[in-house]
């Protein structure tokens, strides 16, 4: 389908079609995921700030329409200053979302993200950006979770291998026999094989 410019909205087209967005996030990976998502959705003016020093001055210099910040960031309180009328603020910041939009606040806080919006930006322009931030933040959290689990599994694997080595040496077992011994002990004691392996390592440390 051919996109036709609509003359009614032309007067504010540039600002309305691609608001300037600043992402404040110390995690470069999460910021990249969010940035990519926003670009895919057609928001081209996206800048990432990862350095928290003189944060407000950086933001004022960029003069964004929307500021997105993760909730793990203590500098969120710094942004609250933008609500205040002061010399430093060129454009006042409006509500972070509409007062009536409780579900939207809930979703963003739960996802761990908050957005500050410059006064005058239309609600229907904000909503898709906010929704995108929420879904990307949730996706990142899921990714992080999977990564943590993988890491944990890898570490457990290492512990089991070391415990196997100890059993093989001390009891003259083959690798398979050592593993079967740990597994049957774990089943009998209703424990995880990783826990049994860990106690073998601890015991061997103590008996050194």
């Amino acid at each position: 389908m051919l996109w036709m410019p609509c003359p009614v909205y032309e007067w504010s087209m540039s600002a309305e079609s691609s608001p300037k967005i600043v992402i404040v996030d110390e995690s470069p990976i999460r910021a990249a995921i969010l940035q990519e998502g926003l670009r895919e959705a057609g928001f081209t003016g996206v800048v990432h700030i990862s350095e928290m020093q003189s944060l407000l001055a950086r933001i004022y210099a960029l003069d964004p329409d929307i500021i997105v910040i993760d909730l793990e960031n203590p500098s969120r309180d710094v942004l609250e200053q933008m609500f205040q009328v002061s010399r430093a603020v060129r454009r006042p910041i409006a509500m972070f979302v509409d007062q009536s939009d409780a579900a939207s606040i809930q979703a963003s806080v739960e996802a761990g993200v908050s957005a500050y919006i410059v006064d005058g930006l239309k609600k229907e322009r904000i909503k898709p950006i906010l929704d995108l931030c929420v879904s990307r933040f949730n996706a990142f959290a899921k990714l992080q979770d999977e990564l943590d689990r993988t890491k944990h599994a890898l570490e457990e694997r290492k512990v089991i291998d070391r415990a196997k080595g100890i059993l093989m040496k001390l009891k003259g077992l083959t690798e398979d026999e050592a593993y079967v011994l740990m597994r049957s002990t774990a089943m009998r004691e209703k424990k995880k094989i990783g826990e049994i392996a860990q106690s073998i390592l601890t015991a061997s440390e103590l008996l050194k």
């Binding site: 609250e80 200053q81 010399r87 509500m95 908050s114």
Partner: protein
């Protein structure tokens, strides 16, 4: 049956009653199963309380009022059935600013009027020499720290909005910012002032008790509608806090309280530093100069834990003075209604009394505070950004 509760807090010494209530088992004894959640920003605490992710929170008293009035954010009525303490903040300045103030000082250096006048001379000199305005750090736009700094410097003739920069800094960043020169001074709660002094990069210029004899600081905050639906839980929570506050005030319990508070998942600093705060015995200069004040932080003494609506009115008056909101009788009533001595009394079973002082705020400058005449009170101050 136990009631599960999630309570948010910021790692600061004035969360003492809350943390001790939970970790010493006083909340469990009341049938409450509390999970404490450490937060990194007041905005997070406010938002999570507002939307119900927290049942209660350690909250800046002015944020509880601002939230109830819908200032700066969505309007969610909050009530404070327990006051987490009086005072506890301090103003710390860089060695350079300390030297500059001491050079200008005429009189007792612990007298806030003397230091405020000295500051105003420092500010004037800097302006004359074309130096950058001084920058002061505080913790939040709606914070006691903001109002205390402003009250102090304005008394000496320094306009906090015109003559200096006031910037928000998260408490854990305060010390770094002072060290690298991003701020020249800050007003923050414990333990951060002591941390700066111990690192040799700051001098404690004032305890807040120098500026205001009794200043409400943090409150135990709950949503008003939640408190109405759960009066028994609120009462149990308040009782556990009263026990904790009284426990902390017993000198022989201080080492244990400091140990509980210093734990890595709580405040996470050396117990010795925390005990200095609880004892009101602080190192104020890198050379080891000590200063004691029985009013440094009041947790239970002098009825400190009982919410006093006059304190809420004073905070509201500061919001008006500095242009954060307009003076409106209904808003004043709402602000005073946030502090709930009735809930405290109902829980404790003893009829509490307010301090009974004619001037419960006890500010070092200006007339005694009168909540019935905020307009007249504010008119007595030369510097302010409000319209009558």
């Amino acid at each position: 049956m136990t009631t599960p509760l999630r309570i948010g807090f910021i790692p600061l010494c004035d969360a003492a009653a809350l943390i001790v209530a939970v970790d010493k088992g006083f909340t469990a004894a009341e049938g409450l199963d509390v999970t404490l959640v450490r937060e990194v920003s007041w905005s997070n605490v406010r938002d999570k309380l507002n939307i119900g992710l927290f049942d209660a929170a350690h909250l800046l008293a002015p944020v509880a009022i601002a939230s109830s009035l819908g200032l700066g954010h969505v309007k969610v009525p909050i009530v404070a059935p327990f006051n987490l303490g009086l005072n506890g903040n301090a103003i710390t300045v860089s060695p350079a600013l300390h030297a500059a103030i001491m050079e200008e000082i005429e009189g007792d250096r612990f007298d806030p009027m003397v230091t405020a006048l000295a500051l105003s001379r420092v500010v004037a000199k800097r302006r004359k020499s074309g130096a950058e305005p001084l920058t002061f750090g505080m913790t939040f736009p709606f914070s006691t720290h903001n109002y205390q700094l402003r009250f102090w410097m304005a008394a000496g003739g320094v306009d906090p909005d015109e003559d200096v920069h006031l910037v928000v800094l998260p408490p854990p960043y305060m010390v770094d910012s002072l060290a690298n020169g991003h701020v020249d001074a800050f007003c923050v709660g414990a333990p951060w002032n002591s941390v700066a002094v111990d690192l040799g990069i700051g001098h404690i210029l004032h305890f807040v008790a120098d500026i205001l004899v009794s200043a409400v600081e943090k409150v135990l905050a709950v949503r008003q509608n939640w408190s109405e639906k759960n009066p028994d839980v609120v009462a149990a929570l308040v009782r556990a806090h009263i026990r904790a506050a009284e426990f902390i005030e017993e000198p022989q319990n201080r080492p244990e309280a400091a140990r509980i508070l210093g734990a890595p998942e709580r405040i996470g600093v050396d117990a010795e530093v925390i005990q200095r705060t609880l004892d009101g015995r602080l190192k104020i200069a890198p050379d080891g100069t000590m200063r004691e004040s029985s009013r440094y932080l009041l947790v239970a003494r002098e009825n400190a834990a009982r919410p006093d609506p006059v304190q809420a009115a004073w905070l509201y008056a500061q919001m008006v003075r500095w242009g954060q909101t307009a003076l409106r009788p209904d808003a004043l009533k709402t602000a005073m209604g946030v502090f709930r001595p009735d809930l405290y009394d109902a829980a404790s079973g003893r009829l509490g009394q307010s301090t009974g002082a004619s001037n419960p705020i006890g500010a070092f400058a200006g007339p005694a505070f009168d909540p019935n005449d905020i307009q007249g009170h504010l008119a007595a101050f030369k510097i302010g950004h409000w319209k009558p």
